[in-house]
């Protein structure tokens, strides 16, 4: 009966492979968009602080700055970077797996209250504090912002006498480039029409929005305001007197049980981070091609956090 034993062994092996595979894969249940029950996993956070980041290079740099500043202050830090979409990481923060995350006030507010009408920085911040679910908090917002803005090339601005979004109203043949979702956003083509009377065609240029603008594929481009390419290519950011865009300042999103000392450290970081400073960080990433760890160390040293 040796063979039977061996066969059983094969079965056991098979079962183990299945079991191990499932365990490796981790388990998750729930609806595709459902946010999970806020479990009681929070007890880890008193020991180790998990810092997360979006799949956006600039966001990752800020997260790395948070992480290194906390380590300097004596905390143990886990990095869970590049979590991607808000759909992926908001549940992770609400579930207590991630304790701290660099966010942007306007975009985050829009996630929780899509119909918000606030546009000014302080209003957005105040409304955001009310909109957050239980268990989450935002720390002090930074003066640095990274928000949507409409940009044109210097030549195009000159040729058409453009300085504010409203000036576009008289221009024919406008093509607006941006991320695919811009088409449906309140500040997208519909908002341009309603607020400024500007008619545009939309072209989803995604990550190539700036090259598309420079190559003439589009003539108006939605670029994040901290994008260094605005300065490098002499783009003209059009003024937004009617407040089409929400102000979107850098803000740390944190779990409510983040230790107070940690919050203090992060608030100091936010105070030191300026709009120009953020652009400079992005330049280091895209032009000098430095890794976020290198950029963060350098910034923290220059600003007296590391010694």
């Amino acid at each position: 009966m040796m063979f039977t034993a061996r066969n059983k062994g094969r079965f056991a092996l098979g079962a183990t492979v299945v079991g191990v595979s499932l365990a490796l894969a981790g388990c998750a249940t729930g609806d595709p968009l459902e946010e999970p029950d806020t479990g009681s996993d929070g007890d880890m956070s008193s020991e180790t602080i998990t810092v997360g980041s979006q799949a956006y290079y600039s966001n990752e740099i800020i997260a790395e700055i948070y992480a290194q500043a906390l380590e300097e202050a004596g905390f143990d830090v886990d990095r869970n970077f590049q979590i991607g979409q808000r759909d992926a990481y908001i549940p992770a923060i609400e579930g207590g797996e991630v304790d701290l995350f660099p966010e942007y006030t306007g975009n985050l507010l829009q996630f929780y209250s899509p119909d918000t009408t606030a546009t000014q920085s302080d209003d957005v911040y105040a409304e955001l504090q009310d909109a957050l679910p239980e268990g989450l908090q935002v720390l002090d917002q930074s003066s640095a912002s990274d928000q949507d803005s409409y940009n044109v090339t210097a030549e195009f601005a000159e040729a058409n006498g453009l300085s504010s979004i409203g000036d576009l109203a008289g221009v024919d043949g406008l093509v607006l480039g941006g991320f695919p979702e811009l088409e449906e956003r309140p500040y997208g083509p519909t908002g341009l029409q309603d607020v400024y009377g500007v008619t545009v065609e939309f072209e989803a240029t995604g990550d190539t929005t700036v090259p598309a603008l420079l190559d003439g594929l589009v003539n108006v481009a939605n670029v994040f305001s901290a994008d260094p390419r605005i300065g490098q290519n002499d783009l003209v950011t059009l003024d937004d007197p009617e407040g089409l865009f929400l102000a979107s300042n850098v803000v740390p999103l944190a779990s409510a049980d983040l230790p107070a000392e940690a919050a203090e450290v992060i608030n100091e970081v936010s105070a030191a981070l300026t709009a120009e400073g953020l652009v400079a960080l992005n330049v280091q990433s895209t032009v000098d091609e430095d890794s976020s760890a290198v950029i963060a160390t350098q910034w923290l040293t220059e600003n007296g956090f590391l010694g």
Binding site: A28, A55, A88
Partner: protein, 223 residues
């Protein structure tokens, strides 16, 4: 190329993660495909059914599967499990078919001889048919391995950390070396797993080494 040297730790971390996430569907797919392939080979009725179903599953583009699968399983589309299950489905789809073909390629005389010397069907399957089908089965596993490693890169779109990160991040930052290293490392990992499978095949099927019959057996299955 300085980018590569300065980011070796990132590349290393993503490579390990990529290896781990590719290994699961390959292993799991193999374990599930053996009984399915057997059922498809053994009975005329189930052959059509199984091969049609796996053929249809195989046809579904991966990004669409990543989106359509979660509601059926009740999991978030951003979960790692989503990608693992989707890739396992592809693995089963390819391997079930190649295992059925492989079993069909075993010489009828050999099977009858095994029965004649007193092998039970179960024992005959494991001791005679499956090992003889081995080289063709291995060819199927190798195809699965290579395509799994490649498909996994798309997981980054739904937030799964894989080498695909180097594609999207490099594209965002405009760093060609980053995207290129992502492509190169993905190919290297595919080749690495392929070599491991070949070595494993040699160790488990020593008779193929002596006569180097693998290609011939494959021919046999094909014609």
């Amino acid at each position: 190329m300085t980018w590569v040297w300065e980011n070796l730790d990132l590349i290393g971390r993503l490579s390990l993660e990529h290896l781990r996430l590719s290994a699961i569907p390959i292993l799991l797919g193999f374990v599930l495909a053996v009984p399915l392939g057997w059922v498809a080979y053994r009975y005329r009725l189930t052959r059509g059914l199984v091969l049609t179903v796996v053929g249809l599953l195989y046809t579904i583009p991966s990004l669409a599967l990543f989106v359509a699968l979660p509601p059926l399983l009740g999991i978030p589309y951003t979960s790692e499990l989503n990608v693992v299950i989707a890739l396992t489905i592809y693995a089963v789809a390819i391997m079930a078919r190649s295992i059925a073909d492989a079993l069909a390629s075993v010489d009828l005389d050999i099977k009858q001889a095994a029965t004649a010397v007193g092998y039970s069907p179960w024992r005959r399957f494991w001791a005679v048919e499956f090992p003889l089908a081995g080289p063709v089965v291995l060819a199927g596993v190798r195809v699965v391995a290579v395509s799994t490693v490649s498909l996994l890169t798309i997981g980054v779109v739904i937030g799964i950390d894989t080498l695909g990160y180097l594609f999207t991040n490099g594209y965002q930052r405009g760093i060609l070396a980053e995207v290129l290293s992502g492509v190169v490392v993905t190919v290297l990992i595919a080749l690495l797993i392929d070599r491991i499978l070949v070595a494993l095949g040699r160790a488990l099927m020593p008779w193929t080494r002596a006569t180097a019959t693998a290609p011939t057996v494959q021919q046999g299955a094909a014609s």
